[in-house]
């Protein structure tokens, strides 16, 4: 600054000529290098060359963002330092989409369904980056707390971050209120946290699978499970509801059913007082960063989901045993990985019950593929010779 005062007329002259000639290197949001060489127009040694690099005064968050107003005001070097890196428009307030530096593909197969033994969640383990398998052993099912697990689909980084934020918030809720937040509550919380980012390139599509607790209403735990069956039937046959209030009404219906069934007089009273919280049992909610929040019995998300859906539609019903359910989930992921290029490698299966989640050992589907190929080949050998029909 002292130097600038000393040579201020010299400096301003240099600056003004810079302003006049928008150089060829100027592009929106990029670097702006003056095309003049130093020391060309003057013999004065104090005419030094100051590259006006605009990227220096952009905040890192705005990487790639297209600025509406070209910052040609930041001409003087000193000025550019001062009006710098605090982003005026935070991502929360901004509704401009930030173009990604390179295209990201969202390829995966994850699925989750409810049955009498709890909730089963399964996913493949391939992380792809439009053509490159970035990680063949990634984890797409992230446990959030002891009774809640979330499957992730979309951008891996976004999913991992938001799951951790959700876990933190749920932990805080539990500490403050002394009980776990229900799955639907967690889904609503996640959905509201993602809402400010709607319209940006954030991409999170998660299914939250959990078992809602029976800590307060222990008497209705077992009854609650059977009753949820019947009223969930009606729930899913009607259009999907996304309001807690509507779900609360359904819970109230269940309560009136349970009234007829249980003997204890205090139980329905208790349940009526805490309408929304009396539900306990398996719960499955799909949350997406575009705002979708759906409760259901069966979801599959990702590029491999169509392949998985048809297998699940064939085999999943309420009265499945745990082994059968695991076999169906595994088969569905296997078929999806077989046909979808962006899904593959191994399969992870998590089972959530009233006691919490358990994880089955990760299984490499390549073994399954070879086993099946062997089986088909064996069948093919036993056939009579048939020209044209080859496996």
């Amino acid at each position: 600054m002292a130097l600038q005062d000393l040579c201020k007329d010299v400096f301003h002259e240099a600056v003004s000529t810079e302003r006049i000639s928008p150089s060829f290197g100027q592009k929106t949001g990029g670097c702006n290098y003056v095309s003049r060489l130093p020391f060309t127009n003057s013999t004065n040694l104090l005419h030094f060359y100051i590259p006006v690099a605009e990227y220096l005064d952009e905040s890192p968050i705005q990487f790639g963002q297209i600025r509406p107003i070209q910052s040609s005001e930041a001409v003087s070097f000193q000025g550019s330092l001062l009006t710098s890196s605090l982003p005026e428009n935070l991502p929360f307030a901004s509704s401009q989409p930030v173009p990604l530096p390179f295209p990201m593909a969202h390829g995966t197969t994850t699925l989750a369904f409810m049955f009498q033994g709890g909730v089963l969640a399964a996913a493949d383990t391939r992380s792809s980056c439009s053509g490159l398998v970035a990680c063949p052993a990634s984890q797409k099912i992230l446990p959030i707390h002891s009774h809640l697990v979330g499957t992730t689909s979309g951008t891996s980084a976004d999913c991992a971050l938001w799951k951790r934020i959700l876990a933190r918030e749920l932990q805080l809720y539990q500490l403050r209120n002394g009980r776990r937040l229900s799955t639907r509550g967690a889904a609503k919380l996640l959905s509201h946290m993602l809402h400010p980012f709607k319209g940006t390139e954030l991409c999170v599509a998660a299914t939250l699978c959990g078992w809602d607790g029976g800590e307060l209403d222990d008497g209705c735990c077992d009854d609650g499970v059977t009753e949820t069956d019947h009223s969930d039937n009606t729930e899913t046959r009607k259009s999907q509801r996304t309001d807690l209030e509507m779900i609360g009404d359904a819970a109230a219906e269940k309560v009136s059913e349970s009234k007829a069934k249980t003997q204890s007089a205090s139980f329905p009273q208790q349940c009526c007082d805490k309408k929304k919280k009396s539900f306990s049992g398996p719960s499955l909610v799909y949350v997406c960063s575009d705002g979708t929040r759906l409760q259901g019995r069966l979801f599959s998300v990702g590029s491999g989901s169509p392949y998985a859906y048809s297998i699940l539609d064939q085999g999943v019903h309420w009265a499945l045993a745990v082994e059968e359910a695991t076999a169906i989930a595994r088969e569905a992921v296997y078929r999806a990985t077989h046909r979808d290029a962006y899904s593959g490698n191994c399969v992870d299966i998590y089972h959530i019950t009233s006691k919490g989640w358990t994880r089955r050992t990760r299984e490499d589907l390549k073994e399954e593929y070879y086993r099946e190929k062997e089986r088909r080949r064996h069948e093919g050998e036993t056939q009579r010779d048939f020209a044209g029909v080859k496996t």
Binding site: P306, Y307, Y309, Q314, H317, R335, R339, E379, Q383, K390
Partner: protein, 273 residues
């Protein structure tokens, strides 16, 4: 050609050239036959379909997505080829027909399925049927499945990039046994033992991959075909209607069934939820 000269036969194109001088006239009826002199393709003069289409893609701001809205599947097994299709014809969000016929019976031993633009499929496959019939008359033996699919594929290649939309499977039985080829509007031609086309194809793939066995009985194969289409129509919005199923056997094809998918899906999912 010698006969033409002797009889002073004037092909249609020459007559037209006398009436309308200048420009390229293409002899319409013949340009898919095996004439070696005609290499032009019938495109209206002054229209350039490829550049028009380029302006209709995502980069141009307009988005005309030619989706193949249907589900068709076909697989080979020990006792022949099973072909199963749905019957929904959609125009955007509107259901134009719930009873469309998506299998063209080229002759008693060749079948073609249609997915994509209904007009394109019907036209080109009927043209294929005409060519197959002409081949039979000229050469006194039936055309092979490979050759028929090659004819169709060449027709598609001639109009490549001009906006045709067709995904078809040519199934038949010839001297080499059962044949199954997939032909595309890009000119793709693939031989295989199982294909499914249309936007519901992924759902069908899951089912058929899972239940396919080389040594299935005929009844099992029928059931697999039915299930494949039914589950696809259950999840895909652009498929529905009825399952039309054909079985290609050594002595020709038979039509197996025409079952309503809503009844089938209720039967399959009874007692599930």
């Amino acid at each position: 050609m010698a006969l033409f000269q002797v009889s002073e036969y004037k092909p249609y194109s020459e007559l037209r050239r006398q009436i309308i001088p200048g420009g390229r006239i293409v002899d319409r009826p013949n340009h898919f036959s095996f004439n070696t002199n005609t290499h032009e393709f019938a495109v209206p003069l002054g229209v350039d379909p490829s550049s028009f289409l380029k302006s209709c893609n995502h980069d141009g701001g307009v988005c005309i997505d030619l989706n193949h809205g249907t589900t068709t599947l076909a697989f080979k097994f020990r006792h022949g080829v099973i072909v199963a299709v749905d019957s929904r014809a959609s125009a955007g969000n509107y259901l134009a027909s719930k009873d469309a016929n998506k299998v063209i019976e080229i002759n008693s031993y060749l079948l073609g399925t249609m997915s994509g633009s209904a007009a394109d499929c019907q036209h080109w496959e009927r043209l294929l049927a005409k060519e197959c019939r002409l081949y039979r008359l000229r050469n006194n033996h039936r055309i092979s499945v490979a050759a028929a699919s090659k004819l169709l594929s060449n027709m598609m290649l001639g109009y490549r990039g001009m906006g045709l939309s067709m995904g078809s499977m040519i199934c038949g039985w010839d001297k080499q046994g059962p044949g199954l080829y997939y032909v595309d509007d890009n000119g793709t031609r693939l031989s295989g033992h199982m294909f499914s086309t249309g936007c519901g194809n992924s759902y069908a793939y899951g089912v058929v991959d899972s239940g396919y066995k080389e040594d299935m009985t005929v009844e099992e194969a029928y059931e697999l075909g039915r299930r494949g289409i039914t589950h696809a129509t259950h999840r895909d919005a652009y498929s529905g209607g009825v399952v039309n199923m054909y079985h290609m056997r050594e002595d020709g094809w038979i039509k197996v069934c025409r079952d309503d998918v809503s009844e089938l899906i209720h039967r399959y999912r009874e007692g599930m939820f």
